[in-house]
């Protein structure tokens, strides 16, 4: 590791869900997939909207909007595919986004004590601050746990 690598600020993919922006560590992001068909079938797992097929793999799609902004995704036709840690292995998952993603770097402040478990911290940008998502923690929560996020969106 050289000196440049050790001092470079971490990079993040900024994405929009509903009317809010969130950040995902760029090293967890696999790709921004174009609009593809969402396949649905019966299941009882909370927060899962269905699956997409991408590059020969079946990728589960999380209804992150219900959790993060308090309502199901609408008008979000692209899929951000990212790695999530499950036990000691990693698996892929996707969340629906509107396609407007950007790469940004900045300092991350630790999450406040009252923040939800899926918030890994707050990314300080030049003109804004956005919550950094802990993608691995998202699936552990039911939509009913989203009251905090719903409140935040109504404030924005």
């Amino acid at each position: 590791m050289n000196a440049h690598e050790s001092t470079a600020p971490p990079s993040f993919v900024i994405l929009q869900i509903g009317n809010r922006r969130f950040a995902l560590p760029s090293e967890t992001v696999v790709e921004l997939a174009p609009p593809v068909r969402l396949h649905r079938f019966p299941h009882t797992s909370p927060l899962l909207a269905g699956v997409i097929v991408r590059r020969g793999r079946i990728v589960p799609v999380y209804d992150a909007a219900s959790l993060l902004v308090g309502r199901p995704a609408s008008g979000q036709r692209f899929y951000l595919i990212a790695r999530r840690q499950a036990d000691r292995a990693s698996d892929l998952g996707a969340i629906a986004v509107n396609g407007e993603c950007e790469l940004a770097s900045g300092d991350v402040l630790p999450p406040g004590a009252d923040r939800s478990a899926w918030v890994a911290g707050t990314l300080e940008l030049a003109d804004d601050s956005v919550e950094v998502l802990n993608f691995s923690a998202l699936p552990a929560f039911h939509p009913g746990d989203a009251s905090n996020s719903r409140g935040k969106e109504s404030e924005s």
Binding site: R37, H39, F41, P42, H43, T44, S45, P46, L48, V51, V53, R57, I58, V59, P60, Y62, R83, A86, R88, A89, S90, D91, L92, G93, P139
Partner: protein, 177 residues
Amino acid sequence: MKAPGELRVKPRRTHHPERVILFYVSGQVFAIAAEAVQEIRSTDSLAGAAMEIENPELAKVRHTLERGRQAYYVVNACLHFYLPVERPTLLLILRDLPVAVLVDRIDRMAEILAIYPLPQAFAGEERGWYRGLTYLDDTVIPVIDPAGFLSAEEYRSLDRSQKAGSGSSELARVVQS
């Protein structure tokens, strides 16, 4: 680049194409191995052969059916998969299990080359419902696990209801959990 510990989701390829029956329940298509189905009958043709069974704990089973010397618990697939209830017209009588499944309609038979494991994110009852997923004609279709229609505890509960109702159990069958 493959991340350390990343799960490689590879389909379970069969040595030979597997024949499946595609059927619909409440607008949702499912696949089941053709060899798991002994017989397909219309509900009308079996109306006289079905007997009511009362088990308030298990709404998806309301009838038993006698075919030959074998009795079957009739599972309403709409209720099993928590789908809106429609009027089923067909009964899939399973092979090797005392289960018959009410479905809406048969689509067709098909051959599948691979079954993909259900992604780990699916952690609910569906892990018992499905053998996995298959991809056919640009559609992801869940492949039914016939053993998932009734759990061992559900068999025991139904057997108790059966005994209470008739004094004898035609379906006393040990099903390992």
